[in-house]
Structures are given as structure tokens and as C-alpha cells.
């Protein structure tokens, strides 16, 4: 067996009162596809930051190639050939795809660097995502979040003169649609087969089970299991992760019959420029799924519905207050200077006032109760929102919407980065709230989640091409409608 690429011994990391890592041993060999799972806030991202040298461990040591590395840091990690696609976007939004590639490679300079960088990244994108449709001279902020993620992933695999031995992918698939995810994972297999190593972090357990040789499970800052994939199945993984949620797992998704699809429509929506065609409608108590490939008009639909709330009915008519759960939390969701509590209560400020002033007690009570209900892992809701792990930030956004007075909840692929246990809890919560009369419009890229919906609208090229009742929902029909034109 080869020598390890890098090895962590008894690494701990604490952020003030929070113990993010409590003594982790980990060693990574070439030719290995390692899967890393664990609940939100288990310490996965922190561990990856230690591996790439962007965070120094509080205690513990790092070794590589047999020798200890006391002064481990970004530069050494780079020399060792360790790359990372961080959970939060690490591209410069104001630069083009090619320029972002150059940021990573000091080698790309001198005359014609832009062309070389463009070729480098385009070739990598072509290899990994044959159908990416990304031009290397496009500015990152003009790309959808999915495409940005593709660029960042592809960039991590490009090489000039420095070595490339280990690529860490921290929830790379959370903003990718399923087919792109499959392309990525297939590529990582090839990369590993050629002698590289990968660490894949994902809350979609099937990805871990299907594509990794070895699985490390983390819980509360510790590694609680580290074995070959063969030793696990889905159920066992959930249990190992701390699977209190196991009980729900078997629970049946909603059945269409539980809701009386009657009464006036709360939401009516027709895409821009459509006169005939299918109209989206939603009544009180309904969970409506928006499906189709990423970027085909689902998010636009949600934003239009959001904007139409309180306005005159027209092409889009909305009756009742709305709240939105953002999927792209960095740009659409969080207020980075604020505490967790402030982030949760911002949508409900109007109803938390006593006289002209907001009551801090009532605000805290609201935040605290939702912290409990949705299980945000933090010692104190007055901590800064960025002290939360990615998944927990997402939960705070859920709490913001569900804790508000909104009758209509718009969800823009909101489960990105949420761990499996919480997901099941949130599904339950959504069902419960729907039963109380709330309406949900739910855009999701995960097939499984559509099972929780009463009715599904499929979007393609900004149009609604199909409406399926829950009973008629099958993966084939969704895929068929999503691709109809190409098939025809």
C-alpha cells in the first residue's frame, strides 16, 4: 500500500465554547474514494478546513509522507496536491470563469494566459460535464448557482505544474441537479481509478454508498465509524450518524386523499408570455412540487409569486402573506452580521412589536422555540449566524419562514446541505403545517422530495409542461416531461 497523502492525529478544534472537533484521527491513501457523512454541525467542514490548512487545529498533529508537518498551512497543502471545493462558494463573483482559474494557478501568467486558462477550464468542464454550456469568458455572477458549482468543481481538478493528489468535495452536489451530480460522481471514480484520492461529503446517502470505497461517519466532532463501504447500508449509516430519525424514515409520504382540493385558489401562476397552457394553482393545505431540470423557470416562478403577494391579481395572483426559504443562502438568505435569533425573527418583526418597539423577549422566545423544533445546533441563539454549519444555517432559514405569519411558503430547493435526520423532521413539519392550512410551493431537485407533494408541475424552458397529481407521479414521467422536446 502507498504511503498516506496526509494523516491527522488526535486533531481537535474549538471555536470559543464550541468543540467542533474532539480528537479526530484520519489518514488518506492514494486511490481511495472516501465518503464523509454526519449530521449538520458534526464537524465535517471544519475537518476539511484543517486538511487544507485554512484552519489550524487547536491540538493534534498533521503528518504526510511519513513525516510530521508542524507548520502545516495553505502553502504546504498546496504543495502536497490537496485541493478543496468548499461548502460555501469560493469563486470571485466579479471575475470570469477563466480568471477564476488563473487565481488558483500562479503558473497561468504571461502572454496569452487568458486563452490558456480558458482552454484549461473548458477542457476540464468538457470532461466532467459534457453538456455544461458554460463559456470561459462569462462572469461568475451571471451564472446560476448550479453552474457556479460546476466551475468550482472543475477548477479543483485542473492542473498546471503542481501536483494533484487529493480533492475534497464538501457537499458538491447540493446545488447540482441529479444528472449533473451523476456526471461528477462518475468522474471522481475515474479520477480515483487513476490513482487520485477524493473525500466526498454529502447528505445524500445514496451518493456515498454508490460512489465511495470507504466511509467515515462523524458525530459531534468525533469519528464514530471508519470502514469499507460494504460494511454499511442506508439504514446502518443513519443509525451510526445518530439516527434518531430512523423511526420516521419508513413513514409514508402524503396521500393525495388527505387534502380536500377545494375552495378558492390561494396562488395562481402562469409563466411570463404564456396565455394558454397549464396554470399553476395552489389551495390552502396543499403542497405543490415544482420539478424539472435546474434553471428552467422554477426559481423565477417563486420570486414572481413572492413579488405578486399583496399586489393586484393579474397573470400571477396571490392571496395571503408569503414567506420564502432561500436555497442559495449566501446571496438570498442570511444576514451575515446578525445573530441566529435575528436571522430567524427578521420575517416576523411586525408581529413581535409591543407598541412601536420590538419585544426582545418575544423575539427570543420565537427563535428559541424554533431552534428546538427544527434542531439548530448551537449553544446560544445569540451567536453569529456564520458560526453555524452550512446545514444549520439552512435550518435557520426554514425557521424564519415557518415561524412567520405566512400562509404561503415558497421553498427554493431549500434542503441543500440539510442532513438526512433533519430532513425527515422537516418533511414531517411541512406535512403538519400543510394540514393546518398552509400552502407550500416547493421547488426541489430531489426526486424523493416530490413524493411529499400533492401535485407536481414540471417546468421546461420557462414553461409549465406538465401537471401531475401525486398518484401519477413516477420518476419516468418526470424525466420524460423534463426532456420531452429532445425526445420528440
Amino acid at each position: 500500500m502507498d504511503r498516506e497523502i496526509i494523516q491527522l492525529n488526535a486533531v481537535t478544534k474549538s471555536f470559543g465554547a464550541v468543540q467542533a472537533l474532539r480528537g479526530v484521527d484520519l489518514s488518506i491513501q492514494p486511490g481511495q474514494a472516501l465518503g464523509l457523512v454526519g449530521h449538520n454541525g458534526a464537524g465535517k467542514s471544519t475537518l476539511m478546513h484543517v486538511l487544507t490548512g485554512t484552519i489550524a487545529p487547536t491540538t493534534g498533529s498533521i503528518a504526510s509522507g511519513g513525516g510530521a508537518r508542524p507548520d502545516y498551512g495553505v502553502a504546504i497543502a498546496k504543495r502536497l496536491g490537496i485541493r478543496c471545493v468548499f461548502q460555501e462558494l469560493s469563486l470571485c463573483p466579479n471575475l470570469t470563469v477563466a480568471e477564476n482559474t488563473r487565481i488558483m494557478h500562479p503558473r497561468l501568467r504571461g502572454f496569452g494566459w487568458r486563452r490558456r486558462a480558458g482552454r484549461l477550464i473548458t477542457r476540464q468542464l468538457d470532461t466532467m460535464f459534457p453538456d455544461h454550456g458554460i463559456r470561459s469568458d462569462t462572469v461568475i455572477s451571471d451564472l446560476s448557482i448550479g453552474r457556479r458549482q460546476m466551475v468550482e468543481i472543475a477548477r479543483a481538478f485542473t492542473t498546471t505544474d503542481d501536483p494533484l493528489r487529493l480533492v475534497i468535495l464538501d457537499e458538491p452536489t447540493s446545488s447540482l441537479d441529479p444528472s449533473t451530480s451523476r456526471q461528477l460522481l462518475a468522474f471522481t471514480r475515474r479520477f480515483v481509478a487513476d490513482g487520485g484520492a477524493t473525500i466526498l461529503i454529502s447528505h445524500l446517502l445514496h451518493e456515498i454508498l454508490d460512489y465511495c470505497d470507504r466511509i467515515v461517519v462523524m458525530r459531534d466532532g468525533r469519528v464514530v465509524a471508519d470502514e469499507g463501504t460494504a460494511a454499511f447500508d442506508r439504514a446502518k449509516l443513519i443509525v451510526t450518524m445518530g439516527g434518531a430519525a430512523e423511526g420516521h424514515a419508513a413513514e409514508a409520504p402524503v396521500s393525495a386523499a388527505t387534502v380536500a382540493a377545494e375552495g378558492p385558489a390561494r396562488v395562481r401562476y402562469r409563466p411570463k408570455g404564456e396565455t394558454g397552457g397549464t396554470e399553476l394553482t395552489a389551495q390552502a393545505g396543499e403542497i405543490i412540487g415544482l420539478a424539472g431540470l435546474a434553471g428552467h423557470g422554477q426559481s423565477d416562478c417563486l420570486v414572481e409569486v413572492f413579488d405578486a403577494a399583496g399586489g393586484r391579481p393579474g397573470r400571477v395572483s396571490v392571496q395571503g402573506p408569503v414567506a420564502l426559504v432561500a436555497g442559495d443562502r449566501q446571496t438570498d438568505g442570511i444576514f451575515p452580521l446578525w445573530s441566529i435569533a435575528d436571522n430567524i425573527t427578521v420575517r416576523s418583526l411586525g408581529s413581535l412589536t409591543q407598541g412601536p418597539l420590538i419585544s426582545p423577549q418575544r423575539a427570543d422566545a420565537l427563535a428559541e422555540s424554533w431552534k428546538q423544533r427544527i434542531g439548530i445546533r448551537t449553544p446560544d441563539i445569540h451567536n453569529n449566524i456564520l458560526s453555524l454549519s452550512g446545514g444549520n444555517q439552512q435550518k435557520a432559514l426554514f425557521a424564519r419562514a415557518l415561524g412567520s405569519d405566512a400562509e404561503i411558503i415558497l421553498m427554493d430547493d431549500p434542503m441543500r446541505g440539510v442532513d438526512i435526520g433533519t430532513k425527515l423532521d422537516v418533511y414531517g413539519l411541512i406535512r403538519e403545517e400543510a394540514a393546518r392550512g398552509r400552502t407550500f410551493l416547493w421547488y426541489t431537485t430531489e426526486m424523493d422530495e416530490l413524493e411529499h407533494c400533492h401535485r407536481i408541475y414540471i417546468f421546461r424552458n420557462g414553461r409549465i409542461v406538465a401537471a401531475l397529481p401525486r398518484a401519477e407521479l413516477t420518476e419516468e414521467r418526470v424525466i420524460h416531461s423534463s426532456f420531452q422536446e429532445a425526445v420528440a
Binding site: G16, T331, L337, S339, V346, T353, R400
Partner: protein, 319 residues
């Protein structure tokens, strides 16, 4: 992830302490230089003058908190015009003081609203919108006031310079106003919305806050405070003058940023305004009475500002 988040978030709310410390230090130096004379009167004078700086600074602070690019450069012109409006309407008569104040605030309010409309309708950066409008306001001021210095009614002038136990009454009122502003920021829907918009305008909109109304109110508020300040300054300096606001272009921005308000928006700091205003006045006192040449004095002013901010340290990024 740079660690020590909890400690940091405490530190981020603290920079105003440094401006007070700076003010105290400079004050001590000034008193030593004067051989121990006038220690108390330096403080009372500084407080009296700081009232105006803080008043304008409050408006500017709300605007700057709206996020990068938000700034009101029309304040000096606004103050000048408002001073003329106030004095003309008061017309030297004690009975018309309230009317004059109201007129000045209304003038400022209109200016703020026009600023917002320019920003909104022409979709231009606030910097350029308020710069352009300041030119227009200046012309309105000249043709309205003809550059004449109209005297305030006696009662008004007395009120503005009145002191109780050495402390300017006006400063106490402005202090109350700043406390109110602090409460508005922390505890009202409007104030929270300002902070939210300043951090992430898109997220604020999607969180259901009415971005447009918030921006509108903020520019209007800033204008109105400028108008109020213009009227008070006319009383304080003994007459209207179109130039009376000139120094507040830089000063209003300086007290906001030295006071610890984030120029990137989303975080405001009310006590810091007072600390910074006092500090700037103390620096002027120290250097004006030092007998040094103007060149050296300017040099020292700059170095002191940089020294204080360097000691105070800045905010560190979170992740």
C-alpha cells in the same frame, strides 16, 4: 473561519470605546499644554459643538448603514439652505420660532425625498445623485437667500446657546435624540430593516422587508436632520449662511466611520458618533492652542486619527 467568534462579536460592538478614549487622551494633552487651565470648559465647549456634528452624523449614519455606495453629499447645501429658510421664516420674531424650525425641517425633508427619487428613478449611484442635487440646492439657496445673513430671533439664539450648569441644553436634546436613534435602530421594524438592507439587499427583499420604503425613509430622515441642523446652526452662529454647512461634508462622514459604523453597511454605532465628534473637536483644540503652524497641525490631526483607528483595530472577517 478565523475563530474566537464570540469574542469577536463582542469586539465588533466596541469600537466606539476607542474614540472616547482617543478624545480623553487628546483632552488630557490639551489640558496639560494649557498648564491645567480650562479643563472643564474645553469639555463643555466640545460638547456644545459636537451636538451639531452628531445631529448631521446621525442622518449620515443611517444612510451609510444602508450599504455600500449609500451616502448623502447634499448635506452641506441642505444645511445652508435650511439655515436661510429658518431665518427668513422666523423673520427675527420670537413668535415664529416653531414655524421657522418646521419650515427648515420641511425643506430638508423635501431635499431628502428628491435625493431618493433621483436615485430610484434615474437608477444612479447615491453619490452622484446627491452630488448633483447639492449643486441645485446651492443655487436655490443663493437665489432664495441672496447670500444675506439674516439674524435669528433673540429667544431662539438664546435657546440654542443656553447652558445649564455649563452643559449645552441643545447638546442634551441631541443626546436624547441619539438615544432615540439607537432605540429605533435596535428595536423598531424600520431600524432593523435598515440594518438588514445594509447587509444584503436581496435577502432583505426576500425576507419580506420593503426595501424601497426603507431607503425612502432613510434619505428623507437624513434630509430632515440636515434641515434641523441648519436652523439650529443659524441660531448658534447668529445668522443664516449658505456656507454654514460646508465643513459637514467631510465631518459627517468622518464621525460616522471613526465612530465604528461599518462602511460596508448593516452595522451602525450611535455612541461612536459622540466619541468621534468629541475627539475631532479635542484634536482641533489641542492643535489650535499648541501654537504650531497650520501645516504641522494638519499633519498631527491626520496622524492622531490614524493612530487611534490603528490602536482600535478593525473588524476581522468571519469566515
Amino acid at each position: 473561519m478565523s475563530g474566537q467568534l464570540a469574542a469577536l462579536s463582542r469586539l465588533r460592538t466596541r469600537p466606539w470605546i476607542w474614540s472616547f478614549l482617543g478624545a480623553a487622551l487628546v483632552w488630557a494633552l490639551a489640558v496639560i499644554l494649557a498648564g491645567g487651565h480650562g479643563a472643564w470648559s474645553v469639555i463643555t465647549t466640545a460638547i456644545a459643538f459636537s451636538a451639531f456634528t452628531v445631529l448631521v452624523g446621525l442622518g449620515q449614519m443611517f444612510v451609510i448603514t444602508l450599504g455600500p455606495g449609500n451616502i448623502d453629499l447634499s448635506l452641506p447645501a441642505n444645511i445652508g439652505l435650511a439655515s436661510a429658510v429658518a431665518m427668513k421664516v422666523m423673520d427675527g420674531s420670537d413668535g415664529r420660532i416653531a414655524l421657522g424650525l418646521l419650515a427648515a425641517v420641511a425643506a430638508g425633508l423635501v431635499i431628502g425625498i428628491v435625493n431618493y427619487l433621483l436615485i430610484r428613478l434615474l437608477r444612479i449611484p447615491p453619490l452622484i445623485a446627491t452630488l448633483s442635487s447639492s449643486f441645485v440646492i446651492r443655487s436655490v439657496g443663493i437665489s432664495y437667500g441672496r447670500g444675506l445673513q439674516i439674524k435669528p430671533p433673540l429667544a431662539f439664539a438664546d435657546l440654542v446657546v443656553a447652558r445649564l450648569g455649563g452643559i449645552s441644553v441643545l447638546a442634551v436634546l441631541v443626546l436624547l435624540l441619539s438615544i432615540l436613534a439607537g432605540v429605533v435602530l435596535a428595536r423598531t421594524v424600520y431600524g432593523r430593516s435598515v440594518l438588514a438592507v445594509g447587509q444584503n439587499i436581496r435577502a432583505a427583499r426576500l425576507a419580506g422587508l420593503s426595501v424601497r420604503r426603507v431607503r425612502f425613509l432613510t434619505y428623507a430622515l437624513c434630509g430632515a436632520l440636515g434641515g434641523l441642523c441648519g436652523a439650529l446652526l443659524a441660531g448658534f452662529t447668529g445668522g443664516s449662511s449658505l456656507d454654514v454647512g460646508a465643513e459637514y461634508l467631510l465631518t459627517s462622514i468622518a464621525v460616522v466611520v471613526i465612530g465604528g459604523t461599518s462602511v460596508a453597511g448593516g452595522m451602525a454605532n450611535v455612541p461612536g458618533l459622540w466619541g468621534a465628534a468629541l475627539m475631532l473637536f479635542m484634536i482641533a483644540t489641542l492643535l489650535n492652542s499648541s501654537g504650531l503652524g497650520i501645516g504641522v497641525r494638519d499633519l498631527m490631526t491626520g496622524l492622531i486619527i490614524i493612530a487611534v483607528i490603528t490602536l482600535a483595530g478593525g473588524r476581522r472577517s468571519l469566515r
